[in-house]
Symmetry: C2
Subunit: 89 residues, 2 copies
């Protein structure tokens, strides 16, 4: 759907992060790089994704359910990742 | 610094997103994939990164400045990306 068709889109923000206990090599690499750059006092680093979606759905609750459905079907690998959805009008 | 040395780490969450106007091919691909999966009413999709950091720094304001410094030096490409920092005790 083109942007023009969406006069007042609902904005959904889906944050996807690795589940606790799942190894995060990318996070480890960033942690080491930060220490190499001279930052001390850096503990665990975890990297995730944030997906900002414009939805034509204007009802916040239905928009939330749609975004959760999108997360389960595509945006997150629910075997190793968890997600949370925020709806912004 | 090992996790044990951090009894009460401060958690900083750095969210990195593309600046407005910067093309997001990944977002476009996700948008098409969502439509292919049968989701209608999907407008613009933007993908970003979220970096969760454990910092030994206990003062929230100094932790914020450190995280911002990390973002400018490593976590974000400030030419095409913007970032925001949230401090969680």
């Amino acid at each position: 759907m083109s942007d023009t068709a969406m006069s007042h889109p609902t904005k959904a923000v889906v944050t996807v992060t690795l589940k606790n206990g799942v190894l995060d090599p990318q996070g480890k690499a960033v942690g080491h790089a930060l220490q190499t750059l001279g930052f001390s006092g850096v503990g665990e680093v975890r990297i995730g994704r944030v997906i900002e979606l414009e939805l034509a759905e204007t009802d916040p609750e239905r928009a939330r359910q749609t975004a959760e459905d999108m997360a389960r079907k595509l945006l997150a690998n629910t075997v190793i990742e968890s997600f949370r959805v925020e709806i912004k009008s």
